[in-house]
């Protein structure tokens, strides 16, 4: 453990990670049963908070067609085709009701389903891989406390060649780096908390970054904005470029995350309005941590507008 963060929430899981990994290995060796963690009311409450911070409902509830919460089925239109989000309610047939703790962690950490298939990165395990085991199990505790929804999953409708699922194996070798968020001990506690919220749980980069033709985030332009993001929508540059957040104060960023208002008096719309509905419910300290982390980002030029994007 060469690096260490001072915050209790971050430290504890880091100490426990090797231990729980051992336990998991032992449990798997003993017939595929996973780590047992006692589900407490506290775990459910913490999970509810994480569920909000990760904005899970925006994708896993088909609000537009009055779908039941967590029932999935929301169409997510992308440049690669349309994804239909899965049911994440504890329904045993259609949802995740039969998942063990180990299977749940594996889905987020490795992007692998209980039946061993690789997930498309439309499920942002590329970010969630940074979540701690404890946070993941708290999230599971919350999801399992919700009513099951008997809605069957719809298959994705993807363009060729993205429809070839086994291609995700080489894709992961090229683009996916697994592992819980490690933090930077040379930075303040707030920065570390903000980094964890932005990079892992909040998965901000999944929408605010451009992707290459294979659907992987262009690293050099991470958080520098996108023109043709999910649902064909653009998302702005949120680095410290003077035309991005460079002139915003931490208070301005906190105000946006709380009330949806920009320093110009505009109110965010579209997908970001859904995000703000959730960030508004976070603790002040967490919104502040996000702002501190974003203010410490280096400036990047905005992603250039592709010729094909009409708006």
């Amino acid at each position: 453990m060469p690096r260490r963060v001072s915050r209790q929430d971050l430290i504890a899981p880091m100490f426990w990670y090797p231990a729980s990994a051992l336990l998991l290995a032992a449990a798997l060796a003993l017939g595929g049963r996973a780590v047992a963690q006692e589900v407490t009311a506290d775990a459910v409450a913490r999970g509810a908070y994480l569920f909000t911070a990760a904005d899970c409902a925006s994708c896993h509830t088909d609000t537009k067609n009055a779908g039941a919460p967590l029932g999935g089925g929301r169409a997510l239109k992308t440049a690669f085709g349309t994804f239909f989000t899965p049911n994440i309610s504890p329904d045993r047939q259609h949802g995740i009701g039969t998942w063990s703790d180990g299977q749940f962690i594996k889905a987020f950490r490795k992007g692998v389903s209980p039946d061993g298939r690789d997930y498309y990165p439309a499920f942002p395990y590329t970010s969630f891989t940074g979540m701690t085991d404890r946070d993941l199990l708290d999230l599971k505790a919350y999801l399992f406390s919700q009513p099951p929804v008997p809605t069957a999953n719809k298959p994705h409708d993807l363009n060729f060649p993205y429809s070839i699922r086994w291609a995700l194996m080489p894709w992961k070798i090229l683009y996916f780096r697994e592992g819980p968020f490690m933090g930077d001990p040379s930075r303040p506690m707030e920065w570390n908390r903000g980094a964890y919220l932005v990079k892992a749980i909040g998965h901000c980069g999944e929408c605010h970054s451009p992707r290459n033709s294979l659907g992987a985030i262009e690293k050099t332009r991470r958080l520098a904005g996108v023109w043709n993001g999910p649902d064909g929508q653009s998302a702005p540059n949120i680095t410290q470029h003077p035309d991005a957040l460079g002139k915003w104060s931490t208070g301005d960023i906190e105000g946006l995350l709380k009330d949806g208002i920009t320093p110009d008096g505009d109110f965010v719309g579209s997908g970001m309005a859904d995000v703000v509905a959730n960030t508004a419910k976070l603790d002040d300290a967490d919104r502040h941590a996000i702002a501190v982390f974003l203010k410490a980002l280096p400036a990047k030029d905005p992603t250039p507008k592709p010729a094909a994007a009409a708006r």
Binding site: Q233, D259, G260, D264, D266, G269, S270, M272
Partner: protein, 158 residues
Amino acid sequence: MQTWRWKFSLGAAAALAASIALMAAVKADDLASVVAERQAGMKAMGGKLKEIKAFAESGAGQAEASADAAVLVATAKSIPGWFPVGSGLDSFSGKTAAKPEIWNDQAKFKAIAATFQADTVALQQAIAAGDKAGASSAFEAMGREGCGACHGAFRAKT
């Protein structure tokens, strides 16, 4: 006789077609100016909101905030009129982010507009009373139920 009649109806049809084309052109022009007008209106409103927010946060500048709130109350009433049929992004691609849902779900659009109008009045009253905390919560409610709700559902831009 027959020829005359034929020619006349042809001429009438041509005139009719020309006037329809002209009307359509004028209409498209009107719609383009509506788009420009509502964008200017929204921007102006943003400026007022900034000043009102400053009052809600600091309690200073009550007179200015009151004047702004009066403009806001009036503007809120004109917003539904800024969105005539045909002024959405399917007609003005790249110029506006007004989603077709505005016209496909008029009930929701009007409900949000009505809430927004009521919220601006509540905000105006709190400012008039010099009630900083009240203005702050009224501002927050207006932003969430009015501005944010409408932009979230009906604007194809973050």
